[in-house]
């Protein structure tokens, strides 16, 4: 066993005897060389592909006669443009169908595995990667999507990239990057009832700012993170980019290993035990130093909602909007200084997205919804993050809970998080949304407004018809 470990040790000698973070160890293990520019040529262990940011990359490759270098390290699905009311082909939207066909052609020509809606494994790329066990600790992962940071929940170093970089990864399986600093973001203690991972990350972004993470990888830890499920850690890592950090990760632990055990692409049998040994070895050393460290107390975090046009503009639901200097945001949203988000009448409730579209999110929402009905003026959507999430939820009868309460139960995809399919806000509608961005126009209407919150808070808002404190609705609900 120990000899085997020696032979699989992928760290270059330079870091063997120095305390280091997982980020530094993974970076070193994947470094091909230092480029003449001074940047690092970094090997990408897993490349995830979707339909929106890749067709131009494949076109550029065809123009040059380049082939996909490592098709077996590349996996694709369709998520942004898929309709969620019916996924029957051809899609009614001609452009969506053209994008789907282009993805199918590109994957077929290159020998890349693609999960279409017919496969039973389709879903949001950041939901299916972990679900299938493709995402593993100490991997480098790239995807033409800024929410690739999600995969850090399993201890991967995962980069969101642009289309030209997608071309580079397809062609060379590498990226040219500058190393990042590492900020330890620690959350300690027990979260109060009604406070979820979403509230934790919104609070972190509120304090550190939407560009506070530029130049950093965020290493999340502390006893709160230790106690979290992988789903919860994914919600946190997912929104790292909303705080400016391209990468967020949590060191792998028993929770991570148990999550991965038995998944389709995870190592099996003895290989799994050897993998665990390597994953432990690649984790941050106890005496590692960080470029920065910030600490949060879980008990001080409250159910949180955004009031503005970036994810850093949030308040605890019970608080009034503080003296906000951003008049543009207040005017766009129709709020003023001193007003409360609580009590805001909503038009749409959206539960889904790579932030909060997993089974546990639907369970949290269903716990609130059971025995209630959506307010008559609210259009309420449940969009599972993947077909597997959808099946698991249906096996538990959650779809019936939601449908009986007046929610629409949809197919898997990104849907109203960014409105690239038919699911869009109309006019100045206000949406209570479990997604990740409240940018102007984000949910498909240029004047539409988004209030970000946890799935449980969205469920509560759907029922009340206005933003409420979910803790009030949890009274009497069994934990």
């Amino acid at each position: 066993m120990s000899r085997r470990l020696d032979t699989i040790n992928a760290q270059p000698p330079s870091t063997l005897h120095m305390a280091a973070t997982l980020f530094q160890k993974v970076w070193d293990a994947h470094t091909v060389r230092t480029l003449p520019s001074g940047q690092t040529q970094l090997f990408v262990g897993l490349h995830l592909v979707h339909e929106v940011t890749t067709p131009q990359a494949f076109d550029m490759m065809r123009q040059h006669g380049w082939k996909v270098a490592f098709p077996e390290r590349t996996f694709a699905t369709v998520d942004h443009i898929v309709p969620t009311s019916s996924q029957k082909r051809p899609f009614l939207d001609v452009m969506a169908e053209e994008m789907m066909s282009a993805l199918e052609r590109n994957c077929r020509d290159a020998g890349i595995s693609l999960w279409t809606p017919d496969s039973g494994n389709q879903g949001i790329v950041h939901v299916i990667g972990p679900e299938l066990g493709l995402t593993q600790p100490a991997m480098t992962i790239a995807c033409g999507d800024s929410h690739t940071s999600t995969h850090g929940a399993l201890g991967a170093i995962a980069f969101g990239i642009g289309t030209s970089q997608v071309r580079d990864v397809l062609t060379s399986q590498c990226l040219a990057l500058d190393p990042l600093k590492v900020r330890r973001v620690e959350v300690n203690g027990r979260l109060n009832r009604g406070v979820y991972a979403k509230d934790v990350i919104l609070t972190i972004i509120r304090r550190l700012g939407v560009q506070g993470g530029v130049g950093f990888a965020y290493e999340y830890g502390g006893t709160t993170l230790d106690a979290m499920t992988i789903d919860e850690r994914m919600t946190i890592c997912n929104m790292s980019i909303e705080g400016g950090a391209r990468i967020g990760y949590v060191n792998p632990d028993e929770t991570t290993f148990e999550f991965l055990r038995g998944r389709r692409f995870a190592p099996a049998g003895d290989a799994f035990d050897r993998a665990v040994a390597w994953w432990r070895q690649m984790s941050t050393d106890a005496n590692a130093s960080y470029d920065d460290r910030v600490v949060f107390e879980a008990a001080a975090i409250e159910p949180t909602v955004t009031w503005g046009i970036n994810p850093g503009q949030s308040v605890a639901v019970s608080e009034p909007i503080e003296a906000a200097p951003d008049d543009e945001a207040l005017a766009f949203m129709g709020f003023s200084n001193g007003s409360k988000v609580q009590g805001t009448r909503i038009d749409v409730a959206f539960i889904g997205s790579c932030t909060n579209g997993r089974l546990s999110d639907l369970e949290d929402a269903a716990r609130i919804v059971r025995g209630h009905h959506v307010a008559p003026h609210v259009k309420a959507l449940i969009v599972p993050g993947s077909q597997a999430v959808s099946r698991a939820a249906e096996a538990r009868g959650l779809n019936e809970v939601f449908i009986e309460a007046g929610f629409e139960w949809r197919g898997a995809g990104c849907s109203m998080c960014l409105g690239m399919n038919p699911d869009k806000l109309e006019g100045r509608q206000i949406s209570a949304s479990s997604s990740n961005r409240n940018f102007k126009g984000r949910q498909g209407s240029p004047t539409g407004r988004t209030l970000l919150m946890s799935p449980a808070m969205v469920a509560a808002a759907a029922i009340a018809g206005e933003v409420v404190d979910v803790r009030e609705m949890l009274e009497g609900v069994p934990a």
Partner: protein, 211 residues
Amino acid sequence: MSAQPPVPSPQPPVRAAAAVTNIAGRGLPLRGDDIDTDRIMPARFLKAISFEGLEGHLFEDDRRANAAHPFNDPKYAGASILIVNSNFGCGSSREHAPQGLARAGFGAIVGRSFSEIFQGNAAMLGVPCFVAAPADIDRLQGLIEAKPETTIEVDVATGRITAASTVVEASLPAALRDGFLSGQWNPTAMLLDHFEDVRAVAARLPYIRGF
């Protein structure tokens, strides 16, 4: 995932890009912090399999909502240097945003700060994003608003920005700067240069070896 590392076929050679040493032209001041890529290029324009025509949709929703938006103002027509404030290009990694700007003729962007992904994506298109002090950004924006005909010159090697008698010092990450100067701002060729090293890294990674 096979246990044996694959042996990729050698790729045809890459054409060298042109060096980007200086950018000169008229400026366009776009005030505001945290301007995200959804605003630069709304998602509905991503529903296409090419980048063609994106220059026609830059800030489309902001421009409709605000007739006085600088991208609507004919006095800035033909500008090639964009002057922005902080955290420009935050949010989505969509390259469609810098593609639209590059295709509209912008050769450089100067701002207080940028999202990392945006700055990297713009660099891949040969468009440097320079960082300057807030007071200098304000001076440049004010100058261009008052005299839009002013020619702005950006020297990549020194980061010096000259606009009539105003001179501002700006900076680029060293690797990006050197890449622009040497014509290696598109790293594909470098990444393919030592492909045996790529194979060697793949061959020693436990998860590729099957543990």
